[in-house]
Symmetry: C2
Subunit: 138 residues, 2 copies
């Protein structure tokens, strides 16, 4: 059912595979959308009688720390996470559908060349695009 490569990766990092964690990953694998902790919680409560929201927050952040999920910035300033498949192997950014929440990895060759312009030493940069995906355009 769940991606075995992903499980192996997590085990290699000494991260326990719990039913809740599997269900969270499964949700992101099934629907390639971004979800807020609250949305993930709502999904988990269908499967599990007991389910704490703080655990959802902790696990989403854990997955983000290990490159499995990426944080998505939306205008409502709440937390959103999405699956990041090309985990740091190739530079890419994320494109979010404002309609359905779909998140696509898009390879990029944007490189900050600006340290010459203003004398800034760039430590990190962030690019994100919003729009309407092909499916939602119809």
């Amino acid at each position: 059912m769940i991606d075995n490569q992903l499980i192996a990766k997590l085990k290699a990092k000494h991260i326990k595979i719990t039913p809740k964690r599997e269900a969270i990953l499964q949700l992101f694998l099934n629907r390639e959308c971004c979800f807020s902790p609250d949305q993930v919680w709502g999904h988990l409560r269908k499967q599990f009688k007991h389910c704490g929201l703080p655990s959802v927050y902790r696990n989403l952040e854990l997955f983000a720390q290990h490159g499995v999920l990426t944080k998505i910035q939306k205008t409502d300033r709440r937390l959103y996470y999405a699956l990041c498949k090309d985990h740091d192997d190739h530079p890419h950014y994320h494109m979010i559908c404002v309609d359905c929440g779909r998140v696509e990895d898009v390879p990029t060759n944007i490189v900050p060349e600006v340290d010459k312009v203003k004398g800034f030493k760039i430590l990190k940069h962030f690019y994100q695009a919003e729009g309407v995906c092909q499916q939602c355009a119809n």
Copy 2:
């Protein structure tokens, strides 16, 4: 004292020029840094005996709506605003010094060409860089 061109611009938009608003603009004009509402409030309370935090929130958002200020994304996920001088005349992004908070407008020619790649219709995009400014590097 305060930028008269800016005042004229605001009057043209039927925005009342109040002492608090002048003081907020003056702060951003004096120090080209990003500030949180709380930081602006702390500054205003030195000059004004009575000063409500909700007014600060409202005014910062008002200025942002009218392109005078721009929102800055920091990792602490709190609101930050900075002066945006090149207001939409030229495409540019913002570079933030992680040390002193300085914000620089940097012209860009980054154009999202990705609607071809994945069939996405891009509505807006956001780029921001973080680093250390020349002054703080010394």
